[in-house]
């Protein structure tokens, strides 16, 4: 009758980690491309560009991970990114007489705040609607997906907004620090904080609990409504930050080209082992899940795969990666 309570060893934990196998897939991919074109793939330059081009999506995906763990979804992130970029760029421009290219750090800081607040506002709206009204998250965020894009177009009168401060784009956008792009450092910081909060804090624990059984979470006294609002708020704010990062990187607030950011983020999250039905998942998995398609696309361009074959090849590897991951995990459980 004495409880036979054992803790798992580190090795068991590592082997049991849901992310091990998908990490392996990523490594194999890099190895294969590296073997095919060692001169072009395994270079600092390719590493730098792959990282930097994925930084924005990664930030979006960290927020998305939280949302999906609560068994929600956020289709609006791409549009919120656009909206935040537009408001931020336009604010900076108007502070600097219509063209902020020569503006200083003060203006940039205000731009950052505007981007974050814009993102947060949409996130708050999403959160309130999802948490308080019982409207499915898919519908709410499909609505804000359209609305945020429309609002961005309305404000910018339908065209891209330029005039991004050079200090911003030269430092955050393309600057590096000991060879690591600054944009990547920022994304890594966000990711690390996101992973820690999810994995070790009360906030993270409640996120899992709500996704696992919302009714149970409510009954044990977790403020489910408030928590959901916070989660969508987080996703929105990160989308705002992503908008600011995109501004720095592309030197323009582009209102097109972010239609599929939502699906890309969702795919990364799910690829990383987070269940669409909520309750399980991790930020580390998301990182891996975001990089797999990025590495693939990059690799195919470098190796020179025919453009029409590229989506097919990406699809095959994507599905195969998850398949491998799934059957490995199942085998581990059967062990």
């Amino acid at each position: 009758m004495t409880p036979d309570v054992r803790e798992r060893t580190l090795a068991q934990r590592l082997l049991g980690a849901n992310t091990l196998w998908i990490a392996l897939v990523l490594l194999v991919l890099v190895a294969v491309f590296g073997a095919l074109r060692p001169d072009a793939v395994l270079t600092t330059f390719t590493l730098q560009t792959t990282l930097v081009e994925t930084a924005v999506l990664l930030v979006l995906s960290v927020g998305m991970t939280y949302v999906i763990i609560t068994s929600g979804i956020d289709l609006s992130v791409g549009s919120v990114l656009v909206f935040s970029g537009v408001t931020s760029a336009m604010t900076m421009n108007s502070l600097h007489g219509g063209d902020a290219t020569g503006a200083g750090w003060g203006t940039v800081l205000i731009g950052l705040v505007v981007a974050l607040v814009s993102g947060a506002a949409w996130g708050l709206l999403n959160g309130l609607l999802v948490a308080r009204t019982g409207i499915p998250a898919l519908i709410v965020t499909l609505g804000t997906f359209g609305a945020a894009l429309g609002a961005g177009q309305l404000i910018s009168n339908g065209s891209n907004v330029s005039g991004v401060p050079a200090v911003l784009s030269d430092n955050l956008g393309t600057g590096t620090w000991f060879g690591v792009p600054n944009l990547v450092i920022l994304a890594a910081l966000v990711t690390a904080v996101g992973a820690l909060v999810l994995g070790t804090t009360r906030f993270g624990r409640h996120t899992y609990a709500i996704g696992s059984n919302e009714e149970a979470a409510r009954r044990v006294g977790i403020g489910v409504t408030g928590h959901l609002v916070k989660v969508y708020l987080l996703a929105g704010t990160l989308a705002g930050l992503a908008g600011f990062m995109a501004l720095a990187y592309f030197r323009v607030a582009s209102i097109t080209g972010h239609d599929t950011d939502n699906l890309n983020a969702i795919a990364g999250v799910v690829l990383g082992g987070t269940s669409l039905f909520g309750g399980t998942g991790s930020v580390v998995g998301t990182v891996l899940g975001v990089f797999i398609p990025a590495v693939l696309r990059k690799g195919f361009v470098i190796v020179g795969v025919n453009v029409y074959w590229q989506p097919i090849a990406v699809a095959v590897v994507l599905v195969a990666a998850v398949w491998f991951d799934q059957s490995r995990r199942r085998a581990r459980n059967r062990r």
Partner: protein, 304 residues
């Protein structure tokens, strides 16, 4: 002390190779351009490669540029999908010693490319309005622009040119533009809705292939083919066929093959130390049923 810029680590590449990065895969416009490019570059013994983004979109084109950069070709011909967003990546090409030639579209920053070969989209829009006015004659009625997505620089320029010109014709009442998300079914739906609200519609300018196809479908469903003048942009085979069949009344065609050929020539000149011309404008023409035969050389190709 660790500051720097991405791509600080350079190297040298293969000077006998050229890459074309069009704005989008699978468009007859860019395919025709590719034909001209391959022909001209091949004639001078250059190895060629074409890497197109799936859609006309700077976020999709950027990784292609950096991917191409990793391979270090001698020259890159590129149709930048955004006049500012592509500046960063393209500057990296230049910094790596690659000769950059802009084709079709161009950056706002003129210091990156050695040469720009393009046709003026705004000019094309103006031409569309003039052609429509000719087709309509002295009848009066409403005209509509079906545009793609807000923020798409090329089609926005076409719409703007049209808008600027159409107001000069008092018999044409401009009812504004509708965005279609570049989806034919939305174009059809928005056209029929406009027809329902403005029974006197006599002209439509569709700013690209998809809006044109949607517009002709909408007109056909409404039974108004021919009575509403449809002016399309570009001259892909299907569009030409529609023009021939009277579904479309006029097309504004660019000359992509010449753009591609000229672009290749400029790149070779830059690589081999020849004469490089900074800006080259190619022709835009309006094709109607009347001069269909005469302007055959402007038709776009599906494959070389």
């Amino acid at each position: 002390g660790g500051g720097g810029q991405i791509g600080d680590t350079g190297g040298s590449g293969d000077g006998k190779r050229m890459v074309l990065i069009p704005g989008a895969a699978a468009e007859p416009f860019y395919i025709s351009m590719e034909c001209g490019f391959r022909e001209a570059a091949g004639a001078k013994g250059y190895a060629v490669d074409v890497q197109a983004p799936a859609k006309f979109d700077s976020t999709l084109q950027t990784p292609i540029v950096t991917g191409v950069l990793a391979n270090k070709p001698g020259a890159v011909l590129i149709a930048p999908t955004d006049d500012k967003a592509m500046a960063g990546p393209m500057k990296q090409l230049k910094d790596a010693g690659i000769k950059v030639v802009e084709v079709d579209t161009k950056l706002e920053d003129t210091s990156v490319a050695v040469s720009t070969v393009s046709s003026d989209n705004e000019q094309g829009g103006r031409l569309a309005a003039q052609t429509l006015a000719q087709l309509v004659g002295d009848k009066s009625g409403s005209v509509l622009v079906l545009n793609t997505k807000a923020g798409t620089s090329t089609t926005d320029a076409r719409a703007k040119g049209f808008e600027d010109e159409v107001v000069k014709h008092p018999n044409l009442r401009y009812v504004g533009q509708q965005y279609t998300d570049n989806e034919p079914d939305q174009a059809a739906s928005k056209l029929t809705a406009t027809l329902a609200a403005n029974a006197d519609l006599i002209g439509v300018f569709a700013t690209n292939l998809n809006t044109g196809e949607g517009a002709s479908t909408g007109l056909r469903n409404a039974g108004r083919t021919g009575s509403v003048n449809l002016v399309g942009f570009d001259a892909s085979p299907k569009q030409v066929e529609d023009l021939r069949a009277g579904v479309v009344q006029a097309l504004i065609a660019q000359d992509p093959a010449t753009i591609g050929r000229t672009g290749a020539e400029q790149a070779i000149a830059a690589l081999e130390g020849g004469d490089v011309k900074r800006d080259i404008e190619t022709n835009l023409v309006a094709i109607t049923q009347a001069d269909l035969q005469a302007k055959e050389k402007y038709f776009y190709k599906q494959k070389c």
